[in-house]
């Protein structure tokens, strides 16, 4: 059973097939509606190379050595007449490294008539890049289903070369790709250990990386070629080295020939539709779709134009207000509010205005600063020539920038105005500056929204769904203190129909999700008092008390040290929590202390590594490694795994916790400004080992945009 939590920022997390489907729906919309007319000169043809039925760049069933354009995010769905369906999500992690997550269905796979729902991962590295003008082919090494059940497990080494309209591949495969017309493993010449391929233990092996099987056992050769008939149509022919042994034994598949034939029609440069006859006995369809995370639907957004830089109020106008230190405040407040910025305080000293703001709208912090500066130029007296703008986040003072009237007037229409503004802004950490904020204007807010909560991967019903209403409210009685809660009422759904109970031998810290879903009354998702503060330069702190998430309540404290001019950051988080009752209003007996020391390192070009070491919910000790690629517009794709002192056997199915995260700003799709993100965490399976609290407002993510702005990121929007 999977679970979805919604954080304060609107980040939605879930896992599994439905999550993929939801994301897919969004992305289809994005692709169909959002990016129709991108520049011929700039738009990249993402699916010039097709993908195989396994969801990696390739031919029909066979892989190629090609890669997708860097950063491409693609999906495939491949229904087959032999009752084998595959869908996959593929990401070009680096220009040479490709990764895929696949969800497969094989009807009546098990002896008792049960069908197989399989989650598996692929990785491929391009060792050699093709020389389009010379003789050198692309060469790649790949691992197929290296961490799932191993049912589709294979390894391969493949070379691909284009010859005009023909793209041909030849390769050698092991495992599934070494099963037809196979021969003794050539690596056996190096060591006898390569000759036998240890049998997969099936479900018991699920999730373990099968190092002991890589490139072992018999090998076989495969060949494949695509012929690009015209701009859109291509034909494929391949000689497959997959004997389909498993399918033949279990579902009566007939392998009549190793030859596969297919045709493929390109839909624009972001989609492909294909059809193929496999092994002389099955017909499959194949749909592929790709998107470019680096290109949102509207690169500059559809928001209205900014207010203009103005000379400011004349002496007479300013005098008519009486005391210039207080009177313009209401006017500035209204003007800033119209630009998505909340005024927290305004104080004028001689020719300098000190302005405290909170950005309530813009994904790019620099844009909130740019709009604020222009509002100030128009709504403050002309004699005020220096603007010191201090931004806040959850009442934490973040940065202060300083710009003068002369700068604004000079740079508003300057061709390099954005760069110049960033250079002149003199950005400082605002933690130690005197607080000039007034009392909060609107300490209470609430909203009511529908929610949808999926549950899936239950073999009885791979997809379940709840639909209801969620009421969230927030109250800030004093600076820094945020009291908030989220209440859900299910209206319709079938999550409560799950009957399978967790067989985990660990404390059931996550695997009892179905018991939580059985409650029909209103459910309190969270109810917390949070306190945010800046203990010092580059330091951020948070303390949270209350019902922290759906399954846990208690106390959470966190400190983060993150200098914006360094690539690294360090965090410490300690929590003492009790497991919440299934009906959400009391606590079970389980209590635990969980926490982590976290280190993040920005590897550059958008790649970020994170290591969290500590104690997990079930009391297990270990570490989580995460690698994330973050595009400049906030689109993120990441992968993580957690190893703890819980043995693979004790962990149960899956062996250890791992998954993929995808998160994107809604602005990416809509082109309208906003700070809401949509995202999902896809875990092949959720068990109790390596489980962490699902906390809202973890500091690193919360404060990242402000730090990014301090180091000049997204300043291209300053004048937008």
């Amino acid at each position: 059973m999977a679970r979805v939590t919604i954080t304060g920022a609107g980040l939605t997390r879930g896992s599994g097939f439905w999550a993929v489907a939801r994301l897919l729906a969004l992305l289809v919309i994005a692709v169909l509606a959002g990016q129709p007319l991108l520049a011929q000169e700039e738009r990249r043809a993402l699916l010039q190379e097709g993908m195989s039925h396994y969801g990696m760049p390739g031919h029909l069933e066979m892989p190629s050595a090609r890669a997708l354009p860097d950063g491409t995010f693609a999906f495939t769905i491949t229904p087959g007449s032999h009752d084998v369906w595959r869908s996959s999500m593929v990401f070009q992690i680096t220009p040479r490294l490709t990764g895929a997550f696949r969800y497969s269905y094989v009807s009546r796979y098990f002896g008792d008539g049960q069908s197989l729902y399989d989650r598996s991962f692929d990785l491929r590295y391009q060792l050699l890049q093709e020389d389009p003008h010379g003789w050198r082919p692309a060469l790649a090494v790949g691992l197929q289903d290296f961490g799932g059940t191993g049912i589709f497990g294979a390894e391969y080494l493949v070379a691909t070369k284009g010859f005009g309209p023909v793209t041909a591949s030849a390769g050698i495969g092991w495992g599934r790709l070494g099963s037809y017309n196979s021969f003794s493993n050539p690596f056996g010449l190096l060591a006898d250990g390569f000759r036998p391929r240890p049998e997969s233990q099936g479900i018991a092996d699920t999730g373990k990386v099968s190092f002991d099987r890589f490139f072992r056992g018999d090998a076989a050769l495969f060949l494949a070629a695509d012929w690009q008939v015209n701009d859109r149509l291509s034909l494929s022919l391949e000689y497959s080295s997959d004997a389909m042994r498993d399918e033949a034994e279990r579902i009566g598949f007939e392998h009549k020939t190793p030859i596969n034939l297919g045709l493929d029609y390109r839909l624009g440069d972001r989609g492909r539709l294909g059809m193929a006859v496999l092994y002389g006995s099955a017909l499959v369809l194949n749909y592929q779709m790709a998107l470019d995370p680096a290109r949102p639907s509207a690169p500059s957004g559809y928001e209205a134009g900014p207010p203009a830089v103005m000379p400011g109020l004349s002496r007479a106008a300013a005098a008519s207000w009486g005391s210039a230190t207080t009177a313009p405040e209401a006017d500035v407040r209204a003007a800033l509010a119209a630009q998505g910025v909340a005024l927290e305080g305004l104080h004028i000293e001689g020719t300098t205005a000190h302005i405290a703001i909170t950005n309530t709208l813009w994904p790019a912090v620099a844009q909130s600063w740019g709009r604020t500066a222009r509002v100030l130029s128009a709504h403050l007296p002309a004699g005020v020539t220096t603007f010191r703008i201090r931004s806040h986040l959850r009442d934490m003072p973040m940065r202060e920038i300083t710009l003068t009237r002369a700068d604004l007037e000079e740079l508003e229409y300057a061709p390099d105005g954005a760069w110049q503004a960033w250079v002149r802004a003199d950005i400082r950490d605002a933690s130690a500056l005197p607080d000039q904020r007034g009392p909060r204007e609107e300490p209470f807010s609430w909203r009511l929204l529908p929610y949808i909560e999926p549950g899936f991967f239950d073999p009885d019903s791979p997809l379940r769904l709840d639909l209801g209403a969620e009421l969230t409210a927030e109250w800030t009685p004093m600076r820094g203190l945020w009291v908030s809660g989220g209440l859900r009422q299910k209206l319709v759904g079938n999550l409560d129909e799950a009957t399978r109970l967790s067989d985990s031998i660990l404390p059931h810290v996550r695997s009892d999700a179905s018991l939580y879903a059985k409650q029909s009354g209103p459910s309190l998702r969270w109810l917390t008092a949070e306190y945010f503060t800046r203990p010092g330069e580059n330091l951020y702190a948070r303390a949270s008390l209350g019902l922290l998430e759906q399954m846990y309540g208690g106390l959470s404290a966190e400190v983060l040290w993150a200098p914006p001019d360094r690539p690294y950051a360090l965090g410490l988080e300690v929590n003492y929590v009790a497991q919440r009752d299934y009906d959400g209003f009391g606590f079970l007996d389980y209590r635990t202390t969980t926490g982590h020391v976290s280190g993040s390192y920005d590897l550059g070009r958008g790649y970020q590594a994170q290591l969290d070491i500590g104690r997990y919910l079930a009391g297990d000790w270990g570490a989580t490694a995460t690698m994330t690629r973050r595009f400049g517009n906030g689109f993120e794709v990441g992968a993580f795994f957690t190893l703890t002192d819980v043995s693979f056997d004790d962990f149960g199915e899956g062996a250890f916790d791992k998954g993929i995260t995808i998160s994107m700003p809604l602005t990416w799709i809509l082109g309208e400004p906003g700070q809401t993100r949509a995202g999902t965490t896809i875990r092949p399976i959720q068990r109790d080992g390596g489980a962490r609290l699902s906390l809202r407002n973890r500091l690193y993510e919360l404060t990242r945009d402000e730090r990014d702005a301090a180091r000049g990121q997204r300043w291209g929007r300053f004048w937008r």
Binding site: Y302, A304, E672
Partner: protein, 202 residues
């Protein structure tokens, strides 16, 4: 993802690509309505902007002028900045020109003589960085053409063609000179938006 969001997306996205242009062409007036009313009241100078690729046309009003740059706005506050009739910025079109240096374009165009100039455009690249694109443009005088400046009136104007090249692609601009001034001008900066045809109304 909340279902509502999906519904909003499903219902709201059909015209997504037209959004920016529609905003330009007069969507709901969601920003500074007072300014627009004021401009209409004082009979501010107007300009017609046509976007042939989008099949849209709109009248914008001169909202302000500073340092030789005219700031034009539509009813919903999409904006266009011009300097000597050259577009040096747009705001609210989805793939805006954030800043531009048209170089000696105006001088050469107004001279009515052939010439070559350099243009530099800055646009957001999708990751909120400014992508700089520079063009070398050949300017060549063309024939005289009729340009319609109101429902009933046309004038004969000299067409000046401008062909811009860059390693990543190019575009074509056209300008119509009347009495030594640019009366009408077709300028491009984004293949997504296509050309903007500006007609300065007397």
């Amino acid at each position: 993802m909340r279902l509502l969001l999906i519904l909003i997306l499903l219902t709201g996205c059909a015209d997504l690509t037209k959004r920016g242009v529609e905003r330009f062409a007069g969507g709901p007036d969601d920003s500074a309505p007072a300014e627009m009313a004021q401009l209409v009241a004082i009979d501010a100078p107007r300009m017609i902007v046509r976007l042939p690729q989008k099949g849209q046309a709109v009248t914008v009003l001169l909202a302000g002028e500073r340092a030789g740059v005219k700031r034009w706005r539509g009813t919903d506050n999409a904006q266009l900045y011009t300097k000597d009739a050259m577009i040096i910025g747009t705001r609210g079109l989805g793939d805006d020109l954030i800043g531009a240096d048209p170089g000696q374009a105006v001088q050469v165009i107004r001279s009515g003589q052939p010439g070559q100039i350099t243009r530099i455009h800055r646009r957001l690249d999708g990751q909120d960085r400014l992508a700089i694109r520079s063009y070398v443009c050949d300017i060549t005088p063309g024939p005289a053409e009729q340009v319609r400046i109101s429902e009933t009136r046309s004038v004969s104007a000299l067409r000046i063609d401008e062909t811009c090249h860059s390693p990543g692609g190019g575009h074509r601009n056209r300008h119509w000179l009347y009495q030594g001034q640019i009366l009408q001008s077709e300028q491009s900066f984004s293949p997504e938006i296509g050309p903007l045809v500006l007609t300065f109304l007397p």
